[in-house]
Symmetry: C2
Subunit: 248 residues, 2 copies
DNA sequence: CCGAAATCGTGCCATATTTCACAATTATCC
DNA sequence: GGATAATTGTGAAATATGGCACGATTTCGG
């Protein structure tokens, strides 16, 4: 396997981009806004490429499960809905994984990209907010097996203290302490909007460096923290632009 | 106000894009796969610009509600986390809304962009899937007031027939019929992955032209249908790339 | 009413991203 | 075994996106 895989990832650290400055706000797909790694300075790999990798893994794994042993960039591209050249280019940032005349081994490539993304381990995640959304996230099995909710926080005195599986919902005051103690690097923010920045700050103080933000708040985070936005409302609001009364 | 606002939006229709050529996301049948409209051909406005507009509206409305009457591109940029030039450029696609020396009227600009996005009306939405996620979406107030769940579908015989507010959950077989009858243009897909394409096809057959896809399935849709993906798992999986054991 | 300060809109340039297209390599078939 | 077909990885070109910087215009304080 080529270079990146399990090598020391320190060189990948998102380029410095402080608070408000240069951070672009929406990715190509529809996922949203805010501080994601700038994509060039480090000589690193463009974030837009990184964001496509999960789809590759997903599709390759699906094919592998179906018993398909190898796949060409062209066929993979048709499955995913991108161009074959893009897939080949994306992969070329990391090494050479294909075989001319044959294509890529589905299983091998899925495994390789998983390692590149560090998905070959389980990550503990801190969940803040245990309201409707927070509960839904806690119950959602789709994050498994790479991600496991290891701590839950809520400010409400009714909710804090509540049990979920083997976890007790903790008060927000303990976020920093617990995130640090459990070495949690990833946070999910599902609190009411007014509390989002505070909760993010506490998580970061405890050592979190990746935040999944379900609120519409634009989070201010240091340059070494990655934030991804989940913004279904924004997605809907941008689709209506294209709607027309009559149609085809 | 400038041109676009409530003018006939037919010219905005995503360019019909045949085959794989100009459009990055087309499959063999000329069906655009997955999200966003092609962004150039029509001489139309780049989709990436459209996708930023909801954030502008949101922020401007917030400021207006706080009693801020006008805001400069610079200040707005600081709130949102983009550059002032980008905001000015984005707006310039639609007209001239600012006043030199002063900035933009928060209320006016929020209203103008809302009209551009056609958010100055209520859109009926069809929701497919009434499991955990579907229920959460149905209860979620964040889509209001621009979007209203007007029909709910589920294949399960237990769920179909169930009531939600004044709605009865309907079987998937009725999607096309009901979507057509109620002139619904927007669908939300929250069914199990295996059913996503089928449900999408039925909605489109009934006249839906915008789909919010919560599943990980890559939907095949005609070129005149916009799809946006909500993919929190992918977002998480791409953030782990940047995580490092030690940090800073 | 004046000069300084603020701010927009945009031409033009810089950067980022995608795509083309082809040499090199490997597979396949007879 | 040799000819043909398939397919990769990548330099170079093409597009798309972002940002600088400045003329033009408006505001503002006195
Ligand atoms: N992106 C999405 O798909 C999506 C969907 C639904 C809701 N949301 C957003 O997620 C957030 C939560 O939505 P919800 O429907 O779960 O609301 P909710 O009211 O059910 O839950 C909010 C929770 O946050 C808790 N909370 C309030 N202040 C807190 C604080 N300082 N620290 C920790 N917890 C605190 C409350 O006690 C409550 O449990 C909102 O911002 C909402 O807009 C996003
Ligand atoms: N993007 C996200 O944030 C997110 C979060 C949770 C779940 N999901 C995804 O959303 C989907 C639903 O998740 P869930 O947790 O609600 O699962 P669920 O099992 O609770 O609900 C799925 C629902 O789909 C219904 N269904 C199955 N086949 C159908 C068909 N042919 N037509 C209509 N309805 C059908 C089922 O009856 C059930 O009610 C899954 O694909 C899941 O991976 C996405």
């Amino acid at each position: 396997m080529a270079t990146v895989g399990e090598s020391n990832p320190s060189h990948r650290q998102p380029a410095a981009e402080t608070g408000t400055s240069a951070a672009p706000l929406a990715d190509r797909n529809g996922n949203r806004v805010s501080s994601r790694p700038s994509n060039l300075v480090t000589g690193g790999i463009p974030d837009i490429v990184i964001r496509r990798l999960p789809v590759y893994v997903r599709t390759l794994s699906l094919l592998a499960d179906r018993g398909v042993e190898s796949v060409s960039s062209d066929e993979l591209a048709r499955h995913i809905g991108v161009t074959a050249a893009q897939i080949r280019r994306d992969l070329s940032y990391f090494g050479k994984f294909g075989k001319q005349g044959k294509g890529y081994s589905t299983e091998l490539l899925a495994g390789t990209i998983s390692r590149i993304l560090q998905l070959d381990r389980q990550w503990d995640v801190a969940l803040a907010g245990f309201g409707n959304l927070g509960r839904a996230i806690a119950h959602y099995r789709g994050f498994l097996p790479a991600f496991r909710v290891a701590a839950i926080f809520d400010s409400s005195s009714e909710r804090s203290g509540e049990r979920f599986n083997e976890l007790t919902v903790q008060p927000v005051e303990r976020i920093t302490e617990i995130v640090a103690a459990e070495k949690i690097r990833i946070g999910i923010i599902a609190v009411r909007t007014g509390a989002a920045q505070d909760v993010a700050d506490r998580m970061i103080a405890g050592g979190a460096r990746a935040l999944l933000n379900y609120t519409t708040v634009v989070l201010r985070v240091p340059a070494n923290v990655t934030v991804r936005e989940i913004d279904p409302v924004g997605a809907m609001q941008s689709m209506t632009y294209y709607l027309d009364e009559r149609d085809d």
